[in-house]
């Protein structure tokens, strides 16, 4: 439940109001402000808290939208896909195996150039049934044309939702975008969040204009006719170029967000925490930043110069900027909250992406790969200290081992 704090008495339509809300509720606030047209719900924990919040907004009259409870995730994503093609602004989402159940529909949205925005409440994949966070669900779409980002706080969830529509619906991009939020740790955890007024959002977010791709009797086009070796590679190339153009569009969207709302990061791609002068930089995505930041402060107090890079955007991947930020350290520790069995070095997805990104770098610090916190297991300060010590050892040796270290696991 949203709790209105004393700061929320803002009378002016130009002032933010401050609410104590969860990450899911923050996304729902943004959706109401974005004047969403069609939303489809299907229950699976933990993402479904956003649909509960939207349902309340609709029954309470704060949002006018077609609200459809689907009969499964496959339909859930297909319904909004089709609504988007006739010009509706749409929202959807899922978690874990629910996201996997929709997989066919997830792969068709990028080539159809459907700018749907989704929330993935990150959840471990079955089996066994587990509610806790892992990033493997959202990461499965990393190769097929989805933009993917991770948020860390309710505020970031709200702001990123507005930014997401701005980016996805930009005609230069027209690609789907998934906002990932760690299950329970963010979807269900409340924090004070500044909710902007509608007037500001209207200045920031233009209407969705499907343009010449609109499916309408006045624009009788044929969408997605069958193509084979004669055209498919060109269609893939167009997707690739749209993803490449998204880099500029994302930077513009953040700059404009700062101008209109007076907050938001200078660097959209990743958050740097005490990383400027760091000997060892730890890298992670999502709410793992909390354990990392606390541990870093403790270690800094003892004279260890450790920093954090929290990756926000995974697709498009900020290769050059990330390499510039990481290559100045003496060692890098990548903490994956995911796995990729049988991958190079048995590393998680993020570690191997960063290894690849660093390959052409003139300076390649030793990179130590960790897997931690799977299934929502707590990432302890001890885990972080242990990882940091291994990074220092790699820095001293000038090279890292080619193993992947599992932290906090029963051996």
């Amino acid at each position: 439940m949203a709790v209105v704090t004393p700061a929320a008495h803002a009378a002016s339509s130009e002032e933010d109001k401050e609410l104590l809300i969860s990450g899911s509720e923050a996304v729902a606030e943004a959706l109401a402000l974005a004047d969403l047209d069609v939303v489809t719900a299907y229950p699976i924990r933990p993402y479904d808290t956003v649909m509960q919040a939207i349902a309340k907004k609709i029954s309470g009259g704060q949002l006018v939208a077609e609200y459809i409870v689907a009969e499964g995730e496959h339909s859930q994503f297909e319904i909004v896909k089709h609504a988007s093609t006739v010009g509706a602004r749409v929202f959807c989402g899922s978690s874990g195996v629910g996201w996997m159940y929709a997989m066919e529909c997830l792969v068709v949205t990028p080539p159809l150039r459907v700018p749907m925005v989704c929330l993935v409440g990150n959840r471990a994949l079955d089996d066994p049934g587990a509610f806790g966070v892992e990033h493997n669900d959202a990461l499965v779409v990393r190769d097929v044309g989805w933009m993917l980002c991770w948020v860390d706080t309710s505020q970031e969830a709200l702001d990123t939702t507005l930014i997401a529509y701005r980016v996805a619906e930009d005609r230069r991009v027209f690609l789907p975008l998934a906002i990932s939020a760690d299950g329970a740790f963010l979807t269900h955890s409340q924090a004070l969040t500044m909710v902007p007024p509608k007037a500001k959002v209207d200045r920031y977010l233009p209407r969705y204009d499907r343009g010449d791709l609109l499916l309408h009797p006045d624009n009788p086009i044929t969408v997605a006719p069958q193509a084979n070796e004669d055209w498919v590679i060109e269609i893939r190339r167009q997707n690739n170029e749209a993803m490449a153009r998204a880099v500029t569009v994302i930077e513009e969207a953040y700059a404009d967000f700062r101008r209109v709302f007076g907050r938001g990061p200078e660097n959209p791609w990743f958050e740097e925490y005490m990383a400027d002068d760091a000997d060892v930089i730890l890298v992670g995505m999502g709410t793992i930043s909390l354990s990392l930041k606390v541990a870093i402060r403790e270690m800094r107090a003892k004279g260890k110069k450790v920093g954090l890079v929290r990756l926000r955007w995974f697709r498009p991947f900020p290769t050059e900027k990330l390499v510039a930020a990481l290559s100045r350290a003496n060692a890098i520790g990548i903490i994956d909250r995911d796995y990729s069995f049988g991958s190079p070095f048995g590393s998680g997805v993020v570690a191997n992406e960063i290894r690849a990104a660093l390959y052409n770098s003139e300076r390649r610090p030793p990179l130590v790969s960790f897997i931690c916190g799977l299934g929502g297991r707590e990432v302890t300060l001890e885990d972080v200290y242990k990882a940091t010590d291994m990074c220092y050892a790699a820095a001293a040796a000038g090279k890292s081992d080619s193993k992947t270290h599992w932290l906090g696991v029963r051996e």
Binding site: V64, G72, G87
Partner: protein
Amino acid sequence: MAETTTFTNATQILEPFRGVKRVTIEEYFTSGHRTCQGCESALVMKLMVKASGPRTIVLGSTGCMYVANTTYYTTPWVVPWMHTQLGSSGSAALGTAAGLKALMRKGKMKSESINVIAFCGDGGGADMGLGAISATLTHKEYNSLILLYDNESYANTDIQLSGMTPFGANTTFSPPGKAIRNIHTRWKKNMAGLMAAGHPECRYVATVCASYAVEMMNKVRRALTIGGPTFIHSLDPCPKGWDYDPMLSHELGELAIETGIFPLYEVEDGQVKYYGKTKAIVEGRARKPVREYLLKQGRFAHFTEEDLAYFQAKVDEQWEKWEIPAVVPFRRLDATRAALSAK
């Protein structure tokens, strides 16, 4: 008690065509496709949009009416058309209708009646997409028509059996062999009856056959007039999948009805109305023997007298034992029947 609980969402009246000479001359499905000679499903597509007119959006799920109709750089569709996934005809209809409704009621798009028609084959509709179609038929606020073109196999992928393939038919997944003559022993789903009985708020379900083109178009027009989600099941003879001379498509459609294998009817607001030769059968005309229909098709060439007798008995059963002949396969207990008639 309220006088009626029927929810109405009608936005237009499409009057029936009074005879073939009154049918509009404009075509909205024209050249540009590469369907087989004698393809009845292509005719169904043509009649479907001829009936609905130019203010129509068509969604086509994967199947032969996708692959054979729409090859990149050519299209037979004069109206806007979009592909949807194999099991997604229900979701495509619902999503498109919901998008239009949202934009119109929020003033973001000119308010008008736009027909939303999603089609699916028997594989996409009665097998994979059944759940999504079922869900869509419960969303009464959104106007759409789902048309299932049933050529009784996965005809696009090499003629594999579906849940709608008739008993015993030879398909690439059910080839007759020395050890097993009939691999496929399941009876075909009663799709229109299933949709009508299972979705009491769906106001219109009908069966059609393009051998009776004007009736077929008028059922499409009725479905689009009554509003809400609606469903039409079309039986489409398929020369490739059924293995017959392409010139016989029309005749096989007629025989399917005359033998009583496929009934022509509509269920509007729960009332069953039989059509054409099906109506004549209900009123007492003799059904033609099923062998007249089956033995014209290569897919049943391996049938023995025993198979023909079994097939005939199953068809007899749907006419003689079903509570609503050829529509609803329930039977009341004799005691219930007696009690009801005693009242």
